[in-house]
Amino acid sequence: MRRLTWFNVTSLSLGFAFLYLPMLILITYSFNSSKLVTVWAGFSTKWYGELLQNEAFLDAAWVTVQVAVVSSSIATVLGTMAALVLVRAGRFPGRTLFSGMVYAPLVMPEVITGLSLLLLFIGIGLDRGIFTIILAHTTFSMCFVSVVVSSRLVTFDESLEEAALDLGCSSFQAFRLVTLPIVAPAVISGWLLAFTLSLDDLVIASFTAGPSSTTLPIKIWSAVRLGVSPEINALSTIMIAIVAVGVITASLVTKRASLRQQADERAAVHA
C-alpha cells in the first residue's frame, strides 16, 4: 500500500521547501558582498573574514563551548542516574515528587526557569558567570537526558542482567558490563541532545549569565535585534554547516553499523 501519489509528492516537496528554503537563502546571502543584506551585489567571503577578527564573537563562542561540554557531561551522568531511579529503583519516599521534578522542566517555559534560577543565585549570593550558566544548563538538560535514557531502559530486557548475575557478576559489574553497553547509544544521544540544548539556549543563559560571561546566543541576540546583518548570516552559515556535517556523519555511521550487522546476520544464516 506504500505508494507515492501526486498528493504525497507535492506535500513532501512543499513541506521540505518550507523547512529548508529560509536556511538556504540565509546561507546564500552570507556570501553577498554588499552591506545591504537584501540586495545581491556579487560573491564575496569578506564577512567570514570580518567574523574571524571579531574577538567578541570568538570569546562568546569559546564560553558557549565550555558551558556546553561541561554542562552536558554532568547532565548525562545525573540524567542517567535519574533514569535508573525512575525505571529501576521501585518505591521510595518522595518518588512522585522526584518524577514530577524530572518531567516538569521539559514543559516549563524558559523564561520561568531562567527567572527562578536567577532569583536563587541572587538569594544565596552566588556571583553570576560561567559557573551559574553551567548549573542552570545542567539542571534542565539532565531532564531531557533522563527521558531519552529511561525510554531505552524501559524496553531493556532485565533477564540479561539476571543472566550476568547468574554467571557470577556483582550487581555493579552486571550494570557496567551488560546494561551500560546496551543503553550506551541512548546515553550518547542524551549527551548530544544536552550539548545542543546548551549551545542553543538564549533565554536561560540571559538570566543566569554575568557581565563577563556572554554566550554566543546572547551575542547573536543583541546583534539581530537591530536587524539582519551579513556578519550574522556568515556566523549562522558556519553553525548550520557544523550541525549538518555532524548529523549526516552520525547518521552515516549508524547506517553503516546497521548494514554491517545485517551483513553479519546474513553471513551467519548462510554459514
Partner: protein, 296 residues
Amino acid sequence: MRRFALIALPYAWLLALFLVPFIIVLKISLSDIDLAIPPYTPTLDVSEGWAGIKAFFRALDFENFVFLTTDDLYWKAYISSLKIAFIATLLTLLVGYPIAYGMANAPDHWRPTLMMLVILPFWTSFLIRVYSWMGILSTEGYLNQFLLSLGLISEPLTILNTPTAVYIGIVYTYLPFMILPIYSALERMDGSLLEAAEDLGCSRLKAFWLITIPLSKTGIIAGCFLVFIPTIGEFVIPSLLGGSQTLMIGKVLWEEFFNNRDWPVAGAVAVVLLLILIIPIVLFQRNEQKQRELEG
C-alpha cells in the same frame, strides 16, 4: 547504600536547582517592590527566630496578583498568548499533517532520509531559524522582492512585526514537533485497514476520514500539545518577528524583569503563567497515558 546514593544525588540536585528556585519565585510574587538589591521586601531574617518568620509571613500579600488584574496589559497578554498559541497550533497541524502523511506513505528506503530531514532543523540553532525569517519577511525582504518582480503585488506587504510573522515563525520552528508524533502514529497503521474500508464500500477520501484520522488521533493530540504548551511562554519569536504589536506573556515577563526591574510583578506573572499551563499539561499527560495503555 549504593541505591541511596543513586537516588540522593539527582534528587538533591533537582531540589536545590528546580524546586527551591521555584518556591523563591512564589515568595517574591507575594512580596513588595523595594529599590534596594534584591529589590523586594520582606527578606527572611532567620536570626530573629520565630518572630522574624511571623513578621515575614505577615508582610506577604496578593497585591501583585491584584495588580495583574487591574492593569489590562497583563490579562490582555495572557489572552493574546493563548490565542496566538491556539491559532499557531492549528496552522502547524494543517502544514504538518500532509508532510507526516507523505512520509508514512513514502517507500521504505526513503523514510530514514525523510526522517533525518525533519530532525535536522531541530539540531540547528532555534535563534538562527527564527532570524532567517527576518530577511525574508521585511518590507524590502526577499519575499516582497519576489512577489514584486512577479507583478503579483504593486506595493510591498508589511508582514514583519505583525502577528502573521509570529505565526509563520511558530509554524516553522515547531513543525518537527507536530510531524514526528503524527508520523509515528501513521506509520504504525496497518495498510490493510484502508483496503478493508475500500472493500466495504468507502471511497479513498471517506476511508481517510473514517479510518486514518481516528487512528492518528493520539499522534495529532500529542503533536498539538507539543506545539501549544511551549508556544504560550514563547519569547524569542514574538520579540524578533512580532514587533511591538504582538503581545505575548513571555515577552511581558522579560520586559518586566529586565526593563522595569519589577521583580515581584515578574514573579506573579510567572506564577499565573504556570497555573494556565497546568491544564494543557495534565491533558497531555492523560493522552500519553492512554496511548501507552493502547500499546501495552
